[in-house]
Amino acid sequence: MLALLTVVVAAAASLAMLAGSEHLTFSDTYARDGVALWAKLIVLAATAGVIGLSVSWFRRDPRHGEYYTILLFSALGAILLAGATDLKEFVVAMLLSSVTGFVLAAYHRRSALASEAAIKYFLLGAFTSASMLIGVAYLFGLAGSTTLPGLSQGLPQGGLALVVGSALVVSALAFKMGAVPAHAWMPDVAQGSPAPAAAFVTSAPKVGGLVFLARFVISFPSGSLDWALAVAVVAAATMTLGNLAALWQDDVRRLLGWSAVSQTGYGLMAVVALGRSDLAVPALLFFLLAYVLGNVAAFGVVVELRGLTQLPAYSGLARAHAWLANALAVSFLSFIGIPPLAGFFAKLILFAAAIEAGYTWLAVVAVVNTVISIAYYARVLAPAYFGELSAPVPVLARWAQAATLASAFALIALGLAAEPLLDAFAAARLLPA
C-alpha cells in the first residue's frame, strides 16, 4: 500500500535525523530534538499499525482511498503537534489533527452510532478550539511573542491573565489527550467510529498532545505558576474517572475508550515530574510507546472480530482463536502493568519519576487506580479464557491479524529488551529546556 510506504519513508527519514544535533528550527517554531523525533516515530508506528488494521476493514469500501489520505494527514497533525514550539504552529497542528479526526470518526456516515460519536467529538473539539485561540491570544498579549522561548522570557511572574490564558490552552490539550474535563468524546468515539479509526484517534493525537503539554509547561518562567500541582490534580482526576467509568461498561469498545482516558492520566504523571526528575522524559516516551502499541493490539482484536463489541461475544475466545485471545491478554496485562511487558516498564518509570519529583501521593493514587482497572480488564479476559464458546466467531483476513500480533509481540519484546530504547529516551532532550 502506498500509505504504508509513506510511513516507512517518513520513519526512515526520522531515523536518519536521530544522529543529528538537537536545536530549534524554522525560526524557533519547530523543535528538532530527540523527543520530537521519537514522538514522530511513535506516531508513525501507530499509523502503520492502524493501516494494517484498516486494510481488511475497508476492503469493500469504495471510498477507502480518501480514508488513507485523511489518516496520513491526521498523523501529520499529531507529529507537528509533538514538535511545535510556537503557539501559532500549535494552533495549526491542533486544527489539522482535529479536523481529520472528526472525519475519521464519522467515516461510516450511515451508522447512527458513528454520527453520534463524531458530533460529540466535533462539538467538544469546536468548543476547545475556540478556548485555545482565546488562550493563545492572551499569552501573546502577555509575552509579546508566540514562540515558547519567547514565552519563557516574556511572560509575567503571575497574575490572573496568565492563569486564564494557560488554562484555556491546556483545556484544548486536554481535549486532544482525552483528559478531564474534555474527555467525554473518548468512549463514544471508541464505540461508534470505525474500529481502526478509533484505534488511531484514541492514541496518536495523545502522543502529540502530551508532548506539547510537556513543552508548554516547562516554558513558564520558574516560580510563575505551580503547574505541576495543577497537572497532578488533572492526572489524578483523569485516571480515577476513567477507571471508575470503565468498571460498568458491557461494551468492550466503550470499555477501551474509558481505559484510554485513564491511561492519559498515567501519562500526565510524567509531565508532573518534568524538571524535577531525570526519569520524566524517558517515562513520557516509554509510556506513549507502550500505550500506543497496546491500543493498536487491543483494537486490533476488535477489528479482527469484525467490530464485535458486546462482552458476552468474547466468551470462549481462547478456545476458538487462541492467538487473538493471547494478543488481547498481552495488551490488557500491559495496560495493567504486568512485567515483563512494555506497560510495566512504562509504569515503573512513571512511578519512579513521580516519587522522585515529590508526588508520592500521585503514585499512590495511580496504584489504587491500577488495582481498580484489573477488575474491568478481567471482566473481558476471564470469559475469554474460562468461558464456553457460544457461537462460531468469524474473523477478518490476515492484514489485521498481522498488525495485531505484531503489536502484541512488540509489547513483549520491548519489555524484555527495554534497554536500548530507555537509553535512547534518556538521552533525548526536550526543548526549549
Binding site: 476458538a320 495493567i336 516519587i355 503514585a363 488495582v371 464458546l389 491479524q401
Partner: protein, 465 residues
C-alpha cells in the same frame, strides 16, 4: 554444563518447556482425547483461518482437525503429563547438584549475572544462600509432585501443563533472584500464572475466587513496587542489586520516608503471606483452586511472602524492622490465634468440600494449616519476645487439636453413604503423596541436613559470628 549456569537452567528450563508445548504446531503435538467430550467447539472456524495461526490449544482444536495427524505425533494426556513431570524434575536435580556444591559461607554463592538494563542498574542476577536454597529445592519438589498428581483437566491439558511448568520456573526465579527488579518480575508473573490456573481449572465459583486472588495480591504487589522504587531511589549509587542494597542499607530507622517504604513492603508481603487482616482472599482461592494448584499456593506462593519479609525487610531495612517488631509480632500472633480458631470451625467447609472430592479436602485442610504454620515460622524469627512465643505455642496446641479431631473423623467416623464406592488412592496418588510424607517424616526425624544449610544464613541475624 558449567557450574555457573545451574541456577539459570533451573529457572528457564521449565519456562522454555512451557513455551515450547504452547507454541508447538499441532502437527507435532496433538493430544489424543481420553474421553469423548463435546469437542466441536473449535470446529466452527473455517479451515482457511485455522490453518494460518491457530495452535494446539486444547483438544478442541486438535481433535476437530479434519485429517488425523500421523500416529507417532499423537500424544495421550498421560504421556504429556509424564513428559511435564520429567521436565519439572530437571530443576530438582539441578538444585540437588547446587546443594552439593553449596559451601555455606553465609553470603550469596554460585552467583550468575548478566546485563539487562544498565541505565537503571537492573541486571539479571541469581544466586543462592542458606535461606533461598532450601526454599528453592522445596519449590521444585512441590512442583514435581503437583504436576505428577492426577487431576481433571477439563479437556485442556496443554495449557494446564504449560502453566504449571511456567509457574515452576517463575517461582524458582523468585527465590533465586538477587535483583529486586527481577524479584518483582517473577513475583507478578507468579500471580498471573496462578490466576489462570484457578480460573480455568478451579471448582465452584472459580472465576470469582481467581479475580479476588488477583485483585488482592496485585494490590499488594503494587504496594511492593512502590516500596521497591522508594528503596531504589534512596540508594546511592542507585541500584536494584540485592547484595548491594543489603550492604548499603540505604534507609535509616526513622523518618517518614523509611516508614512509608516499610509500610509498602509490609503490605505487599502481608497480603501474600497472608497476615490478618489481609487474608480474606486465601480461603476462597484455596477451596476453588484445583488440588495441585492449591498445594502450590500453600507450599510455594505463600512462602514468597515470608521469604520477602526475611530477605528484604529484615536484611535491607533492619533498623526500621526493629522499630516495628513489636506490632508485627502482635499481628503475627493475632493471625496465629485467628487462623487456628477459624480452622477449628471449618467442619462446615469440609462438609461442603467433601461434595467435590476427598483429596481436595485434604489439600484445603493442609492449606489452612499452612496458613497457621506460616505465622509460627514468623513468630520464631521474633523469638526474643517470650510472651508472644508463648501465645504462639497456644496456636500450635489449637492446631494440634484440630488435626486430632480431623484424624478421628477420618479414621473412626462413620463412612458417608456416598463415599462407599469411592476408589482408594491410585498408584500415582500414592507415589506423590508418599514422597511428601517421606519428606515430612525425614525432616521431623533427622533435620540436621536442612538446618546446617539454613544456619549459614540465619547466623548473622541472631548475632552469632
Amino acid at each position: 554444563m558449567r557450574a555457573a549456569e545451574l541456577l539459570t537452567a533451573a529457572i528457564f528450563v521449565p519456562i522454555l518447556a512451557a513455551l515450547a508445548i504452547v507454541l508447538a504446531p499441532r502437527r507435532w503435538l496433538s493430544i489424543a482425547a481420553t474421553e469423548s467430550g463435546p469437542d466441536n467447539d473449535g470446529g466452527g472456524d473455517d479451515p482457511g483461518d485455522s490453518g494460518v495461526l491457530l495452535v494446539a490449544e486444547g483438544p478442541a482444536v486438535a481433535v476437530s482437525a479434519p485429517a488425523p495427524p500421523a500416529r507417532w505425533a499423537r500424544v495421550s494426556e498421560q504421556q504429556l503429563q509424564a513428559a511435564a513431570t520429567a521436565v519439572s524434575a530437571i530443576p530438582l536435580v539441578l538444585l540437588a547438584v547446587t546443594w552439593l556444591r553449596f559451601e555455606a559461607t553465609g553470603g550469596f554463592e554460585l552467583v550468575e549475572a548478566a546485563r539487562w538494563i544498565p541505565t537503571l542498574d537492573v541486571a539479571y542476577r541469581v544466586g543462592v544462600d542458606g535461606l533461598s536454597l532450601p526454599l528453592a529445592a522445596m519449590t521444585a519438589l512441590v512442583f514435581v509432585v503437583a504436576i505428577a498428581y492426577p487431576v481433571d483437566l477439563r479437556g485442556r491439558p496443554v495449557p494446564y501443563f504449560a502453566l504449571m511448568l511456567f509457574l515452576e520456573g517463575v517461582s524458582l526465579g523468585l527465590f533465586l533472584a538477587l535483583d529486586l527488579f527481577l524479584f518483582f518480575v517473577f513475583w507478578d508473573l507468579s500471580l498471573v500464572g496462578m490466576y489462570f490456573l484457578i480460573g480455568a481449572w478451579g471448582h465452584g465459583d472459580a472465576q470469582r475466587s481467581a479475580l479476588k486472588f488477583f485483585l488482592y495480591t496485585l494490590a499488594g504487589s503494587l504496594a511492593l513496587l512502590l516500596a521497591i522504587l522508594g528503596l531504589y531511589l534512596a540508594s546511592d549509587p542507585r541500584t536494584f542489586d540485592m547484595a548491594e542494597l543489603i550492604r548499603q542499607k540505604p534507609l535509616g530507622a526513622d523518618g517518614l520516608y523509611a516508614t512509608l517504604v516499610f509500610l509498602g513492603f509490609f503490605v505487599g508481603f502481608a497480603v501474600k503471606t497472608p497476615l490478618v487482616p489481609f487474608h480474606t482472599w486465601l480461603p476462597p482461592a484455596h477451596v476453588d483452586a484445583p488440588a495441585p494448584a492449591s498445594a502450590i499456593l500453600a507450599g510455594v506462593l505463600l512462602k514468597m511472602g515470608t521469604y520477602g519479609f526475611v530477605r528484604i525487610l529484615m536484611a535491607m531495612m533492619p533498623d526500621t524492622f526493629a522499630r516495628f517488631a513489636v506490632p508485627l509480632g502482635v499481628l503475627a500472633v493475632v493471625s496465629i490465634i485467628y487462623g487456628a480458631l477459624v480452622a477449628l470451625a471449618q467442619s462446615n467447609l469440609k462438609r461442603l468440600i467433601a461434595y467435590t472430592s476427598v483429596n481436595h479436602m485434604g489439600y484445603v485442610i493442609l492449606g489452612l494449616a499452612g496458613f497457621v504454620a506460616e505465622f509460627q515460622v514468623f513468630a520464631g524469627t521474633l523469638a526474643i519476645y517470650p510472651v508472644l512465643a508463648g501465645v504462639g505455642l497456644l496456636g500450635i496446641i489449637i492446631t494440634a487439636a484440630l488435626f486430632l479431631r480431623m484424624l478421628q473423623r477420618l479414621f473412626l467416623g462413620p463412612l458417608p453413604q456416598r463415599w462407599r464406592r469411592f476408589p482408594d488412592l491410585g498408584r500415582a496418588e500414592v507415589m506423590t503423596l508418599g514422597t511428601m510424607i517421606f519428606f515430612v517424616v525425614l525432616v521431623g526425624v533427622y533435620p540436621l541436613w536442612l538446618l546446617d544449610v539454613i544456619d549459614s544464613f540465619a547466623g548473622p541475624f541472631v548475632g552469632r559470628p
